[in-house]
């Protein structure tokens, strides 16, 4: 028996090896899928959406930004991970015939403003300085959490900018500009502080391709709505509202994104094909040389959605039994000895007899001190120092 075992064992081992090979072939297919699953390497998604134009006739820029916001929220990025900057208020603008709405399609088909919007930077807060501070993370310590970009080295960030631009610059609120060099340097600062894993930069302005010419940090993919020397055009006006509602490039990007759902496998090459010259009149451009992965393998939801990697476990976890008693211990309230009372709203007598506030004494400033020193010097020069004992 002991002798036959090794033989049987060898057969069994051979069978196991064979099975192992087939299993390995199958497993490598599964492993490929698993590898694909983990290939992107990001664990969280952020979005920074900026509209830089002010005034009612730039309604379309706000509508552009809000339509990207809407898609991004729909695909799963929560408000806490979106920094939305709108330079002017269109929805509650007195010139808006339908308040609290921003439409993207004519005949008011789609309200991209919605009922659940949270704008982080509004109106005068949208400046070049604030934008660069958000990107680089150098914000004053009192900034609330919703206004910060708290990304780490495993974050994929989507940055969308729209407004009026030119060759090498983007205009902020009609009073200042950001140049492509500043933007590239900001991204380099982000890279050096490891504030992103991969970055997708989309810009919809005139001559938008000039804004991504100067990028030099790795892992950045950029898309623009027009080449240098071309203008991005707007899509269609709505006669009821009286302004153009959207820009062409973002309009077709929105149409494209409306078909994406959190589980879709569409990749970036499809996004590059959105809006050919026949529809957009301008030639959209893109730049992928700094990006390490092949755009074919990059899913749209890697940037526009927030696909969480979920691990399902069937173990049971037992909670600490002492936790149940924690709530029962209510702190004893301290009671006042005499009843508290409300203040009088208009205590006329007290107001009239209020003593005026004592002004804090400040030591005299430099000018007064200098003046007095001059006067004293002149006096003693004129009359001589021997009079000092008569003075003091």
């Amino acid at each position: 028996m002991a002798a036959s075992l090794p033989a049987a064992g060898r057969v069994r081992a051979a069978a196991a090896l064979l099975l192992g090979c087939c299993g390995a072939a199958l497993a490598s297919g599964v492993q490929d899928q698993a590898e694909q699953f983990f290939r992107s390497g990001h664990t969280n998604n952020w979005a920074v959406l900026v509209c830089t134009s002010r005034f009612w006739f730039n309604y379309r820029h706000v509508a552009n930004t809000l339509s990207v916001y809407r898609s991004v929220k729909r695909l799963g990025i929560p408000d806490s991970h979106i920094v939305l900057m709108l330079a002017d208020d269109m929805a509650c603008n007195p010139r808006n015939p339908k308040p609290a709405t921003v439409f993207s399609h004519k005949n008011m088909e789609l309200n991209v403003y919605g009922d659940d919007v949270e704008v982080d930077y509004r109106s005068y807060e949208v400046t070049v300085e604030n934008f660069l501070r958000v990107l680089t993370g150098r914000i004053p310590p009192s900034t609330p959490r919703s206004k910060r970009l708290l990304s780490d080295d495993r974050s994929n960030i989507l940055i969308y900018m729209t407004g009026h631009g030119g060759n090498g610059f983007l205009k902020f609120q009609d009073s200042e500009e950001i140049t492509n060099v500043e933007l590239a340097d900001a991204f380099e600062q982000m890279w050096q502080k490891r504030r992103y894993n991969e970055l997708l930069f989309i810009i919809d302005t005139c001559q938008g391709a000039s804004m991504y010419e100067r990028f030099y940090s790795p892992n950045i993919m950029a898309l623009a709505s027009s080449q240098v020397g071309e203008d991005s055009l707007s899509h269609q006006p709505d006669l009821g509202i009286g302004v153009h509602l959207m820009d062409r490039y973002t309009f077709y990007v929105l149409e494209f994104l409306e078909e994406i759902h959190p589980a879709s496998q569409t990749n970036m090459n499809d996004l590059f094909q959105v809006c050919p010259k026949s529809l957009c009149v301008s030639t959209p451009g893109h730049r992928t040389d700094l990006f390490q992965r092949d755009p074919q393998n990059v899913l749209i939801t890697d940037f526009f959605g927030s696909v969480r990697k979920v691990e399902i476990t069937t173990e049971t976890i037992s909670l600490d039994p002492n936790l149940a008693n924690f709530e029962r211990k209510l702190p004893k309230d301290e009671l006042a000895t005499e009843p508290l009372k409300y203040a009088e709203q208009l205590p006329v007598a007290q107001i009239i007899h209020q003593k005026p506030k004592q002004k804090d004494w400040h030591p005299p400033g430099g000018f007064i001190l200098g003046l007095w020193a001059l006067i004293i010097m002149v006096f003693f020069k004129t009359y001589g120092i021997k009079h000092m004992k008569h003075i003091f």
Partner: protein, 608 residues
């Protein structure tokens, strides 16, 4: 484990509280929600929502970590920054007191924030700055623009609305941002602070598309400490979230049109107090569905009380003006602002309300046309405007009307003027009935350029049936070109002035033995102390003033011109000083040689 629990419970009941009985309620916090619909004299409807969370815990001491109905964001704010009272209001529009009557709780246009800090706070300014930044993140408003240039410390107005141990006004800060826009992004976090969100109860009516299509929209958050019970030995914290909206008959385009043409109706609503023709017109009918495009289906499950009040007071003590359907379960009478008013009450928590239909759609129908002489004038109202011409000087005038036939009362006027309008206090004049009226108390704090605004507080006696005019002249300052906003041609705002007064009322205000807990929320806003008068805080209009604005393309033009001039001058001098001349042989030769010489000349190389 069960034994341990039982032992703890036994310990708790056996130990008992300290001196004096303190009722320990299960959960220790309670929510009451209320909607008040009041038809206004000119046919519009005002809807006031109030959500009040009361928490029997002391937020100041001890580590409170379990938040149930009271929102954690605000509770932590109060505890960490030593806030005693907080009032934040975001308003779009203006409450027209003359046409609509006294407001229940008015707020100025834009954002208004006033806070009383605890005496234990050492650096009030630093706490104020942190508070405004945190609130700007919570409410998506640019409250971070509140700094020392628009913050003041009033000495006579804005006394605390909650329990107070002493009113040292150095602990008070007040700021207004008149340019602040209110839109859905401010409503969204406000709704998220409610325990039921906007999913159940009265908050389902709060849809942004209807709320912002209105003449007046004001949402506010008030936090203050109140008495826990009648003996007032313990402190509870109260959070009130109020939202007032006035729907305009014509701009919203809802409801039936009156018998007269719509243009006549329009002129009635604007000039209602000055028209004297008898007009027979029927104002439009209102319903919850027409106002909010929603109806009520249930009460918030976390609320202990959920009621809808409709103001059906008869205007002239004659028969009723208004008919309400469905018929209310009960009728409530209360004395509000010196008037005896009748309210139809719908209790959403009573099971009989939703028996017949699944949803509650309150409809108001006017029974008889409203006579223009019916429109009551409020006892106290005010108006403010800026006059003058040119871009150098101007004058701010405030008119305060006291329409009470025989009673005089004092009013405190608080004006905050930004530093770039330089007030000349020697031109301050107060004239009543042709004679000069000297205020009993004046507190003036002059502005410091780029650091502090002007603060002017006056206590003025208003004689009966009079108009008081207060005028002050100012001069406009030149700002540095970097201090202008991106749209400076819009103008610069001067925030509303605040009038606080104890208006005498005809009817005795305070009912004996009315428990604050049982009375409706809209009557318990201000703690009433005296029966003969009620407290009112009014705001005037904000002003829009143009400052001399430079041409912002000039820096570029100047740089171009200067550089051109410098280049031409310097270039010419340089050439004159350093250029040497030498004789050149006339070039002879063929065409090729001549061409080559030309090319060499361009290259700067000596010719062949």
């Amino acid at each position: 484990r069960g034994g341990m629990l039982a032992a703890v419970l036994l310990l708790l009941t056996a130990a008992g509280p300290g001196p004096g009985p303190v009722p320990v309620r299960a959960g220790r916090d309670a929510l009451r929600e209320e909607l008040l619909l009041s038809p206004l004299p000119d046919g519009d409807v005002a809807a006031t929502f109030q959500f009040r969370t009361r928490w029997d815990a002391d937020l100041q001491r001890g580590a409170v970590s379990h938040y149930r109905l009271f929102p954690k964001a605000l509770g932590q704010l109060v505890a960490a920054l030593g806030v005693r009272e907080l009032h934040l209001a975001l308003t779009q529009g203006f409450w027209r007191t003359r046409v609509w009557g006294q407001p229940p709780l008015q707020a100025p246009a834009g954002a208004e924030l006033w806070v009383w800090f605890q005496p234990t706070v050492t650096d009030v300014d630093k706490a104020w700055e942190e508070l405004s930044n945190i609130l700007s993140g919570i409410f998506c408003a640019s409250l971070n623009f509140i700094d020392s240039t628009n913050t003041v410390t009033p000495t006579a107005s804005f006394k605390p609305l909650g329990l107070a141990n002493g009113t040292d006004h150095h602990l008070l800060r007040y700021a207004v941002l008149p340019r602040e826009v209110v839109c859905t992004e401010n409503l969204t976090p406000w709704k998220k602070l409610l325990p039921c969100g906007s999913k159940a109860g009265l908050a389902v009516l709060l849809k942004a598309e209807r709320l912002f299509h209105s003449s007046y929209h004001s949402q506010a958050v008030h936090i203050r400490p109140i008495c826990r019970d009648a003996s007032c030995l313990a402190v509870s914290w109260e959070l009130r979230q109020t939202l007032t909206v006035v729907f305009d008959t014509f701009s919203s385009g809802q409801g039936k049109k009156g018998k007269l043409g719509s243009s006549a109706l329009w002129s009635l609503s604007v000039h209602s107090t000055s028209l004297s023709l008898p007009l027979t017109l029927l104002p439009t009918d209102w319903s919850l569905f027409k106002m909010f495009s929603r109806t009520l289906t249930d009460a918030c499950p976390l609320a202990s009380q959920s009621k809808v009040y409709v103001d059906i007071s008869p205007k002239n003590k004659e028969k009723e003006l208004l008919e309400v359907t469905p018929p209310p379960a009960s009728v409530h009478e209360a004395i509000v602002q010196g008037d005896k008013r009748t309210y139809a009450v719908y209790d959403l928590l009573s099971p009989s309300l939703f028996n017949t239909s699944r949803s509650l759609n309150v409809q108001l129908k006017w029974k008889r046309p409203q006579d223009s002489s019916d429109l009551p004038t409020p006892i106290l109202h005010a108006q403010r405007y800026v006059s003058g011409y040119g871009l150098q000087t101007g004058e701010i005038s405030t008119l305060i009307y006291n329409t009470h036939p025989y009673r005089a009362f004092p009013v405190v006027l608080l004006e905050t003027v930004p530093w770039y309008l330089r007030l000349y206090v020697h031109t301050l004049t107060i004239i009543t009935k042709g004679k000069e009226n000297k205020p009993s108390y004046i507190h003036y704090q002059p502005a410091q350029d780029r650091r502090r605004p002007h603060l002017l507080e006056m206590l003025i006696q208003l004689p009966a049936n009079s108009v008081t005019k207060i005028t002050i002249q100012f001069e406009r300052a030149l700002l540095k070109w970097t201090e202008y906003t991106p749209d400076p041609n819009h103008g610069f705002y001067v925030s509303s002035s605040v009038l606080s007064a104890l208006v005498p009322s005809v009817i005795a205000m305070k009912d004996v033995d009315v428990d604050v807990e049982q009375s409706s929320l809209f009557t318990s806003l201000f703690p009433s102390s005296d029966g003969s008068s009620y407290f009112v805080r009014l705001y005037t209009e904000p002003l829009l003033v143009n400052l001399p604005t430079p041409d912002f393309s000039m820096p570029y033009n100047v740089i171009c011109l200067t550089c051109t001039v410098v280049a031409v001058c310097y270039g010419s001098f340089y050439n004159l000083l350093t250029r040497t001349f030498h004789v050149e042989e006339p070039s002879r030769g063929g065409l090729a040689k001549r061409l080559a010489n030309i090319i060499r000349k361009f290259r700067g190389v000596p010719p062949l």
